[in-house]
């Protein structure tokens, strides 16, 4: 109760402070405009049975807070610089560890060719680079099949660079491209590390059926690796229609120690390719989205009895996607719904709740002011996939009495942004 009150107070203060300072604000340095923007959100989740997202949602939880602020300036007609910090606490994730969300120097040689370098948000699908800014979305929770709160830490940005540009196709619309490469950030407070450190892992038998592997990893020292990818999106001649494709290759590795005997633990991916297709269509006040993603994943890790021999292997075809519709009824009220599906392994029984998470969500977004909004959202979730390193919100450590196959979840989120 005390923690809840402290959390609410902290968030209220965060929201109020910039309002008092009237930030978003601009100021000048050496004759150049410098802009400062900020955002914050406070959420509440309640579920009927299973605890979700490392929060005690079955009794209601306010442990769902995030905030950020950025500063940027246009140094010349072609050169921009800026940075954004971000912090969050979501149950056991984030833990109030502030991170550098992005810090970029962006030089635009031509409209069709520019370079960004630094810590850059990663372009993948429609919303990968903006998924941590909920105020930009209709939803309190993005479709978790693609934009999971717990697994996004390594994918949301990269330390490296992009080349990008916009090319007009005249009557055929326009193309926007991004090609990038770099290193994924360490995500020591994300869902993957949390699952590895707290849960009995669920492995697979030779027949592909899940079993509990009672050898939890004690601690993870590092988790991340190189990444490269590309995105191409076409603003079509059909008014309001955009389609696109993304590709990303990740080369992840992790080190730690086994709980049982303190032997070193190593995890590495030998293949991790993701292909994404997406469509965005807006007509009047209606917006329709659809995305599909396929991840071909092969990973190995050392065993509890040997720090040098790799096995068992994980080789899977992970498929996910969603469709959504949102409609702005008035300037103040927007409603929407989405249906999201995540399959941990396409070759395993699809109906097994340990192999999928399906989520049907209905949302109302109320824009109280231009800078304040409130979202009320209901989720009807089928499946849990607990204890896996591609978890989508369900962890064995938070559900010691096991899982029910379905979850009903209420999410309320209050957001500020300037």
């Amino acid at each position: 109760m005390k923690l809840m009150v402290r959390t609410i107070f902290k968030t209220a203060l965060l929201c109020a402070a910039p309002l008092m300072l009237h930030a978003q604000f601009d100021f000048k340095v050496d004759g150049r405009d410098v802009q400062v923007h900020s955002f914050a959100s406070q959420g509440f989740m309640y579920s009927n049975d299973n605890n979700y997202m490392t929060m005690p949602t079955s009794t209601g939880s306010f442990a769902f807070t995030d905030f950020g602020a950025n500063v940027s300036t246009q140094l010349t007609d072609k050169l921009r610089v800026g940075a954004q910090i971000y912090d969050r606490n979501i149950g056991q994730l984030g833990k109030w560890h502030p991170t550098l969300d992005w810090a970029v120097a962006d030089y635009k040689f031509k409209d069709w060719f520019g370079i960004r370098a630094g810590k850059v948000k990663t372009t993948l699908g429609l919303y990968n680079d903006t998924q941590d800014m909920a105020f930009l979305q209709t939803w309190a929770l993005m479709p978790q099949s693609l934009y999971s709160l717990d697994q996004r830490g390594t994918m949301i940005s990269h330390m490296g660079g992009d080349i990008y540009g916009d090319v007009s196709l005249k009557r055929l619309g326009g193309l926007a491209y991004t090609i990038y490469g770099g290193e994924q950030p360490q995500d020591s407070t994300g869902g993957w590390v949390y699952a590895m450190q707290t849960s009995n892992r669920i492995g697979l038998t030779a027949d592909g059926l899940p079993i509990i592997v009672a050898n939890p990893v004690h601690s993870i020292g590092s988790y991340g690796g190189p990444v490269y990818g590309a995105d191409l999106r076409w603003t079509t001649p059909v008014k309001g229609l955009l389609v696109g494709e993304s590709y990303v290759n990740q080369d992840r590795s992790a080190t730690g120690t086994w709980y049982a005997n303190d032997l070193p633990f190593h995890f590495k991916t030998d293949k991790d390719d993701t292909y994404a297709s997406y469509v965005d269509y807006s007509i009047g006040k209606l917006r329709l989205n659809g995305e599909y993603r396929r991840e071909l994943f092969y990973a190995q890790q050392t065993s509890p009895t040997s720090s040098t021999v790799f096995g068992p292997n994980t080789d899977k075809d992970i498929r996910s996607g969603y469709v959504s519709a949102a409609y702005r009824i008035t300037k103040m009220l927007e409603v929407g719904s989405y249906y999201s599906r995540f399959y941990n392994s396409w070759s395993i029984l699809h109906s097994d709740p340990l192999n999928h998470v399906f989520d049907y969500a209905v949302t109302a977004r109320i824009d109280l002011r231009n800078y304040l909004d409130l979202k009320v959202e209901g989720h009807f979730i089928d499946g849990t996939m607990p204890g896996l390193t591609v978890s989508r919100g369900f962890y064995a450590a938070d559900n010691p009495n096991g899982f029910k196959p379905d979850t009903r979840l209420l999410v309320i989120r209050f957001e500020y942004h300037l």
Binding site: S72, D77, R80, R328
Partner: protein, 141 residues
């Protein structure tokens, strides 16, 4: 009958072909430093969506918006193809990922004209009846 049909055809062609500086109830204005006297609707859209920062004549331009009002609504509908909330969301996604700065906004036609007149490269819009002393009006092709 023949004359009526011919008149209709000519009127239709004229409606499509004649470039106009005035779409709906607004006109596009720019700082005198902007070299060109016309802009295509595609270019205009690209400038206000921050995918283009210069016009075909090489002039670097900086978009300026009105905070709200009929000219703002008409401009977004006619040239950008987004509602006000969708446009704000679009621009915020650029600002909060480091890809753009939030454009300057003005409270009225008079403020828009005053800002565009004094700011090199500024390009904006006002209602058709607004005074445009000190700025140039661009034809939209």
């Amino acid at each position: 009958m023949k004359h009526a049909a011919l008149f209709s055809i000519v009127a239709a062609i004229g409606f499509v072909a004649i470039p106009s500086a005035f779409a709906a109830d607004i006109k596009i204005i720019a700082n005198p430093s902007v070299g060109t006297s016309s802009v295509s609707s595609d270019e205009l859209k690209a400038v206000f969506l921050a995918t283009k920062s210069s016009l075909s004549d090489g002039s670097h331009v900086e978009p300026v918006l009105e905070k709200d009002g009929p000219a703002h609504e008409a401009f977004l509908k006619e040239f950008v193809g987004k509602t006000d909330s969708a446009f704000e969301t679009y621009f915020r996604s650029l600002v909060f990922t480091g890809k753009a700065s939030m454009p300057k906004t003005t409270a009225s036609d008079a403020d828009m004209v005053a800002y565009v007149a004094k700011t090199k490269g500024a390009i904006g819009y006002v209602s058709a009846s607004a005074s445009t002393a000190g700025v140039k009006t661009l034809e939209v092709k």
